[in-house]
């Protein structure tokens, strides 16, 4: 479980996160949702230590990441896999080298064992026969898969995904969502996903945190989200007229 306690973060005097607290549960797909610019990426990067928080605490299964030495943090970092918004594959390395990279740096496996693990991860994301391609030769969806394979190569306990289906067509987006969902269940990971995509919210949102202008406004599950009467949340979800009408129809039927 990852706990975020009363976290504040500002850049050049502008407060981006204001007193955010949340718990992210193991074996579940936890979502952070909100509009563009609401602070989702800053929150996720604060949790993994890419940003230092100004106030508050981040706790990984009882271990206070915030108050830890850089040396101890390295231990936790080995348990973290992260998928960045633009995939962030190393463009001078092939697909295989990208996925093998964490193994090269952190494991003492033999060449054959690393190869086996790399192929296993690539197979897990349904990407075979692409080992020797470079990231620039792949479609957006394939890049995401490689990035997922790289993120899981060291068998992480925690998986972070920043808008995993941004820039993908709706069908590919769902495939990536389901892949992350399955992997989370298979390895009982604590997964946190940033998204503003309602398909993801309804499809895989077991635990949802809604943030607006850097504050947590609502939390719940995908079963609760449609019937919530939180105004800010409704403004976010029912952004289109069409969806508003759907909701009214919904409520009339008395569900």
């Amino acid at each position: 479980m990852i706990e975020v306690k009363n976290v504040y973060k500002s850049f050049d005097g502008v407060e981006v996160l204001k007193n955010v607290s949340a718990r992210f549960e193991p074996g579940k797909v936890n979502l952070i949702i909100g509009r563009s610019g609401s602070g989702k990426t800053v929150l996720l990067k604060s949790i993994v230590g890419l940003h230092e928080v100004d106030k508050g605490e981040i706790i990984y299964d009882g271990r206070s990441f915030t108050n830890m030495s850089e040396k101890d943090r390295k231990q936790i970092r080995k348990e973290i896999g992260m998928l960045f918004q633009g995939s962030a594959l190393f463009d001078s390395k092939t697909v295989e080298e990208n996925v093998r990279f964490p193994l090269d740096v952190f494991s003492d496996l033999s060449v054959a064992e690393k190869k086996e693990r790399t192929n296993f991860c690539l197979k897990r994301v349904n990407l075979e026969n692409a080992n020797n391609l470079y990231p620039s030769e792949l479609s957006g969806g394939m890049q995401k898969r490689v990035a997922i394979a790289r993120a899981i190569s060291l068998n992480p306990k925690y998986l972070f995904c920043d808008e995993p289906n941004s820039g993908l067509d709706p069908k590919t987006a769902i495939v990536i969502d389901e892949l992350i969902y399955e992997i989370t269940k298979e390895y009982n990971m604590t997964t946190i996903i940033n998204t503003h995509d309602m398909n993801s919210v309804m499809g895989i949102g077991e635990k949802i945190i809604f943030i607006s202008e850097g504050q947590k406004v609502w939390e719940g599950s995908n079963n609760e989200i449609l019937i919530s009467d939180n105004k800010q949340l409704n403004d976010f979800i029912y952004a289109s007229k069409f969806l508003k009408q759907v909701r009214e129809g919904f409520l009339k039927k008395g569900i």
Partner: protein, 246 residues
């Protein structure tokens, strides 16, 4: 103010860069790749520039000597000393600041704006050290070789220009380049080249590493890298000349 900010952050950056590599075998492989990329990849431009400048120095010196009593071999002496003292170390390093510096800054800058550096940091890798240290080692190692090669080719270019135009006869030039030769001039140039190699790699790495924004900023930071490393090369040229030759 910004000058102080960048100077301070540059030294903190250096402290990050000079960290123990995670795995030595990966580090050595990176160094070899960088030597190939930054050093061997620059051989062509260094050779072309050296042969032409050597030729021009020789011809200009020859045409500027009007008194018939000055022997022709002095052209060889002048060309040699210009090439050994200034041209091969400083001018070649300035050109490398343009070629290698912009390459380093845009490569690292692109990695920054596409979150590849974040990806390294999340894994617990010291990204500054991982990305920049191999380039620093490679440049410090390879720059003296490039400078020596430039010296040889430059002096050859001078000979070729003098001999083929008939302005400086071959025998006179060859006598000239050996006349009153001071070996320390080579040492002096090699010391400079080590310092310049260090400046190019660290300054360009710095500007690339702290890029923020998108592709426009990557372009901007690589221009900054070239300008700042060129100025620093000129400044350190002055300082080292005073220290080593005074």
């Amino acid at each position: 103010m910004t000058f102080l900010f960048h100077t301070g952050r540059y030294f903190l950056f250096l402290k990050k860069v000079f960290d123990k590599p995670v795995k030595l075998n990966i580090f050595f492989k990176q160094i070899i790749d960088e030597i190939d990329d930054l050093g061997v990849g620059s051989l062509g431009i260094v050779a072309i520039i050296s042969v032409f400048i050597g030729a021009v120095i020789t011809l200009q010196t020859a045409y500027n000597i009007e008194l018939p009593i000055i022997p022709k071999y002095t052209v060889g002496v002048a060309a040699r000393d210009t090439i050994l003292l200034e041209f091969s170390s400083t001018i070649v390093s300035l050109i490398l600041a343009g070629k290698v510096g912009s390459h380093i800054a845009s490569e690292i800058g692109t990695m920054r704006v596409t979150e590849q550096i974040d990806a390294l940091d999340v894994m617990g890798i010291n990204s500054a050290s991982y990305l920049v240290l191999p380039k620093v080692v490679a440049m410090v190692f390879i720059n003296p070789f490039l400078v020596m090669i430039s010296m040889g080719i430059g002096i050859f270019g001078g000979w070729a220009a003098g001999a083929f135009t008939g302005v400086v006869p071959s025998a006179e030039y060859i006598y000239g380049i050996q006349y009153a030769f001071i070996p320390f001039y080579i040492v002096y140039s090699l010391i400079k080249s080590v310092v310049f190699g260090f400046l190019i790699a660290t300054i360009s790495g710095y500007w690339g590493y702290y890029t923020t924004g998108g592709s426009l900023e990557v372009g901007r930071c690589s221009t900054r890298a070239v300008v700042v490393s060129s100025i620093q090369i000129l400044l350190f040229n002055l300082i080292l000349t005073q220290l080593l030759l005074a």
